[in-house]
Symmetry: D2
Subunit: 439 residues, 4 copies
């Protein structure tokens, strides 16, 4: 038996709260899970700062990666005897599912923004680079690692395989919606995944949905919508992320400023500051390292870095008000000046954050951000784009929703001695009433 | 209104996957949660290394502490109009419930063992020491912090309050059983907590259980039993803990050995090595700091520290076989010598680990480890010790079960060049068959 | 203590799979539950023929009635100290919640249609008529029973009380959505009821929703939408209902036809056939009586009654095709004649069934079927109609969706000897393809 | 393709709250489900009178039968490639699982007791008799129906097949424990069925359990124990059953008494009274028929039949006290006489009911009620009887527990005019205190 086909003598299972059990029989999968690169995902939270809002959301990307693998495994089991499905793609699909998030770093969102990184690119670099992961994949067959990277990069020729892990209804999304709902404890995020898997059909280069399963898909899309606005874009979570982003900005600024000396040299960050991150440096930076520095930085000389780090560690977050960038720029300008006047650096302490989501999109060929639509397989064998058949989906299709909030440290303002100034600032921020502290 | 009685204008809630919502109305509780000392619990996992076996078990002690508070809150709500219950003890009970685990450090079990610490003592030191927690408690009334510490230390005069958080059926245990079952995903750990709360009655200085609820209590005791053997004492988890303990031992040894120089001075550990831990040093050491060092130590000069750290970080755990300390000491001696001969230091690589549990104990006054029994309130008003009424509990009462395992690095043995030696070692370890890798 | 305020010495509970426990402390409620009229609800299924599609849906109206009571009880507990809420209405609200479905008969939908009955009218007749229920209510205070009837009839002066059990988001709907989802096992029907209850506020004469809870309400409305189309209007369930309705029609027709003699006189049905149902006759007719007759009627001389009864009892249901009454009347006419020609009476065997639902409606004062909208309580204290604030609700607001299907006995057609005729009929029914048997 | 191997063109599913979906692909299974004999199970409750205690327990035997089929289907899927398992037995196993409860009548327990019937015998008669079920089975192959009957009767030669549906850990028990827990809503009855199925191994003529799954089996046995005492033997349920049994006794007695004339001849019961039940008569008697008669009998001339029927229909149950048949016979004799003196016929109104259960039994060859034990498959390939390896199981093994209660109509006693007599009776019944009305 070749390595490619090698089976474990007994199936191994991982107890999983979401899928009950994750089943592994392939030696290749078992070996991939045991690599340092994959184990590293245990030290990176799936939802970054969300646990500061929903305390249950402390689960790691390791968790989710196993989940996506398991879903793809189950789907493929059902595809086994269907036309259009190429059995030869089984192992490739499983590997791509397992490894699709391998390149995520700690608090990806903020890091990518500040340091102009792309986690997907790192995923591919880990897969084709000089890593244990790569060695295992190449043992399957020479060039296999590149295939896995191509599936994740969506350039692989068999689009059916690609669509299993990247489409508007894929294993990745199904796992994270259910998993994140489970760990946060919210009641959104439930849909009948088992039914969706049963009505999936491989047709040519895409996975389509038997029309009898349309309602389960509607339910999935609504779950996605609710999870985005109730969990992923929760304003308190974004407050933590605003602070985190500003910490990174400040540290970079101090590093670039030749005159400032860190008490302990931030060795793990230097290549990030320099914009030239090597693969092994990237792999070393997990959440514990970042948290370690943030804790050290609570004792730094720079007041801003110190304050922001302390806020992040002790969860003393910014408050927020609704903000309309089209109508309220004048107010923002005024606040900016008042903050400066008060000695609160507005670059770090007066931050607009915008979140936007497009719950489902029909096909807009050629347009930027083009997303392949979900197709229903009708009883007569024809395909129909989902939003043309579902009233609910039609209602929200292609409608991007954006939310802007203005974040600031309310405590700092209230501590100002110039009470007139406090009043002025508050007047602009709250108008009549005071903001309600929503949890 | 005094601070003690101050209520938030609107009830605040935390979304909790186990209790649905944790409700906070008291200003004192709200303020305690916001302290750095309490927020620190977010950076300490509830189950230490268990997540290396059950990947869902990544929840923190912050999580559990809120849960215990919530259970006590609900119990007290039901006690409100009962005789024997002193309404004045409400806030004290809530604070003690919330703060009972405050002194836990990272990987408590191993740290306490190696450095001879006691987390409960630290809990009390945080509460009565120079901390934000203490300031808030003293604002309630002078001396209030000591009362909270006394409840946690079980020396408080009103034993009813003590028994809410420390008895054989208390809020602490009820929360962790259900919570740990939820996050690991195992099906043990379920019992009807709502029913148990409904049948709890305050009688004199203890909480007793109406006899009609006996079966729910049986179920709880069986859950406890199963969780201990299936989750808490899982041999794979213990393997990780064995390694962790040995890392700490080795680092201490190197530190004490005047000749060894760490690449980076382990500043956060020094007071631990010296056996003289100040409160503020203790509070600084969370899991991210520990993980940071373990990652650094992968590059240390000392081979043992390097190897063990790398094993822990990358989850390359020791394997194990059953071990009977009474019957197999001779085999152990032989192995010890063979390991030495093979150049594998048996002090670090041949480790016996023993776990034992007593699922329920009746009352043995005066004996060491004396535990107060659970009493049933019979229809005629009398009290009856649980094991005298329940067949099942009687069957397991007072029966301590111990499990011994011998841990070792199988990979290292198999890599030995002297194949005769390998055979000899394996012969002793496995006898006829080879150990099965149980997950 | 008066009867009105009498409390049970210990709270009694009913174990309920949906609400965990239903709690009863009021003697009045306890006595109402024990009446023959309320116990009768055990013999009437909540979802009529739905169990023929979803086999778990065998739960009774007794079940649901306790659930609605429990929800109202919990809401009122939270209202207790709020302004606008009149504490004096507590018992009235609880009684109305418990009794709101008291007048439901077996298979209400079909019975009401065929015999021109109205279950709500019977609910009121039971409450104010000569019944044990009435005696208990009048013991509370003279005229109390009429108040309860008024709340259920929506004519009671305090509209706040009315809205608890009849509005677009009331205890009735919340219970049945969650309960029916639980017993059918579908994954729709979940929403965060606890959160909705927490954000409900009594304002003047209605219950409004704090705007922070809007998403939970969106989720509820989507659940409702999905339950209607996935469960309540399931085409297989409707097939059973079509047959049931036709059985009742046929029996009535035979009864009115002076020449037909039933083998056993249908004594329990006579007043229904005559359109003059006395209260005690109505109360006697539960599902077991109806099923008894249907079983007898399998042996009747009349072929149609016999066949339809046998179909209902043994679940040999009609098949169906989509039907468009606007475009396909000509086809229907042709089928009608072909059925007649084939000797299959189209009055009984070619049935158009239409279902329609309006998931949410904004306020249309004066229009027929006017429904009070859901109002959000904004942070500034103003009220805002839900669909003006929620994109999703706006998208489906006021949009009635109707589904028409044509039902027929496929087996009968296929058994026809004239194969040319079979082909002709099938040609019209299916056009090209054959209908798929969706489960 | 032969009928035996015929597959449906698309897999059909039943939505099931317990197993999510029940999957059917075999034409034979699909046809069996559609028979009148199997559909009849919809009209027989799984738990008889239990719904009078746990209102959710209204599920039918149809429900459970599908569930047992589904479990066996899943187990066989996993057995497919194992040695010892004969693939040829697949369809036989599925049919036996589906049909194993076919012969259950309404309220089996009471009917069997009063009329000396045996539901298992009826199951076999339906399978081999002149029924639609039999026709379908014989189409598979001549003699196939007898094989199915043999599996259910435990006489089939391949004991492995037998043990799937009748052993101390079989598909029947696993389904009913989980299902009954789901519908009653109790928190007992949960165990990790998926894990148990994964560790089942066919060895020779039995299904054994891999020793690594022992704790899941312990959990199952404890669930079983709790369900028996908390649900199946609940004293309120037994009260209803006592009344039901007495109704049947009384009706039989009146029938046998030549002088009594029923208002409506109990045609459906006559063969039961005569002890000579034909198969078609048996199949006609479902729960709706029985309920119909009980309703009629509320208007009978005989006071006892009338009263008991009215009690059953309106849930006016008997109360109970603990009773020790060894110690309290004298008290019982006294009560008997006092009841006679009071004009309350003790034969019907003073009833001792005993329930007993043996949670798990080791092997006692040759003894009556011999039950095959559960064997663990040890790592070395040997088999070990469960109670020798599990402390918990050992503790309860072979220990039969019996509970006796004395039932009586408390209301009748309290209505007696002779208050001295009332006092005397109560004195004996309650001794000092009054019985608590446990729900």
């Amino acid at each position: 038996m070749t390595y490619k086909n090698e089976q474990l003598s007994e199936e191994k299972v991982f107890k999983d709260p979401v899928h009950r059990y994750v089943h592994v029989r392939d030696r290749v999968i078992w070996d991939l899970i045991a690599t340092p690169e994959f184990q590293r995902l245990r030290r990176i939270k799936q939802l970054g700062t969300t646990n500061l809002t929903f305390h249950g959301a402390e689960h790691s990307r390791f968790n989710h990666s196993l989940g996506v693998y398991e879903i793809v495994r189950r789907i493929i089991n059902m595809f086994e005897d269907r036309p259009h499905w190429n059995k030869e793609e089984r192992l490739l699909s499983l590997c791509a599912a397992l490894l699709h998030d391998l390149g995520h770093g700690p608090f990806s969102h903020s890091f990518e923004k500040v340091f102009k990184l792309d986690h997907e690119q790192f995923t591919q670099r880990i897969i084709v680079g000089d890593t244990t992961i790569n060695q295992i994949l190449e043992k399957v067959s020479p060039g296999f690692s590149q295939k896995v990277a191509d599936v994740i990069g969506k350039t692989y020729k068999d689009k059916l395989v690609v669509s299993l892990i990247s489409s508007q209804i894929d294993a990745d999304r199904m796992d994270y919606l259910i998993r994140d709902a489970y760990f946060t404890g919210v009641s959104y995020g439930h849909f009948d995944m088992e039914r969706i898997m049963r009505v999936m059909r491989p047709i040519d280069d895409q996975v389509v949905i038997k029309s009898t399963g349309m309602h389960a898909v509607e339910d999935y899309i609504m779950s996605r919508y609710q999870m985005y606005w109730q969990v992923y874009f929760h304003p308190v979570t974004r407050s933590a992320e605003v602070i985190l982003t500003k910490i990174l900005h400040r540290a970079k600024e101090l590093f670039e400023d030749g005159n400032y000396t860190f008490k302990l040299e931030p060795v793990h960050f230097i290549s990030f500051f320099n914009g030239d991150v090597k693969l092994d440096e990237y792999l070393k930076l997990d959440e514990s390292i970042v948290q370690y520095y943030f804790q050290l930085w609570q004792d730094e000389d720079d007041e801003i870095l110190r304050d922001l780090s302390e806020r992040f560690i002790n969860r003393r977050l910014f408050k927020y008000v609704e903000f309309n960038p089209n109508l309220q720029m004048k107010e923002w300008m005024k606040l900016y000046k008042l903050f400066q006047y008060a000695g609160i650096d507005p670059e770090y302490y007066l931050v607009v954050d915008s979140s936007s989501d497009l719950p489902y999109d029909f096909y807009r060929p050629g347009e930027e951000g083009e997303r392949l639509p979900i197709h229903l397989l009708m009883p007569d064998g024809s395909l129909k784009e989902l939003s043309r058949h579902s009233d609910i989906v039609e209602a929200i299709s292609g409608k991007k929703r954006t939310d802007h909030k203005l974040y600031f440290p309310k405590d700092r303002i209230e501590e100002l001695e110039d009470k007139q100034l406090v009043k002025q600032i508050k007047q602009i921020l709250y108008g009549q009433g005071e903001v309600e502290n929503v949890r």
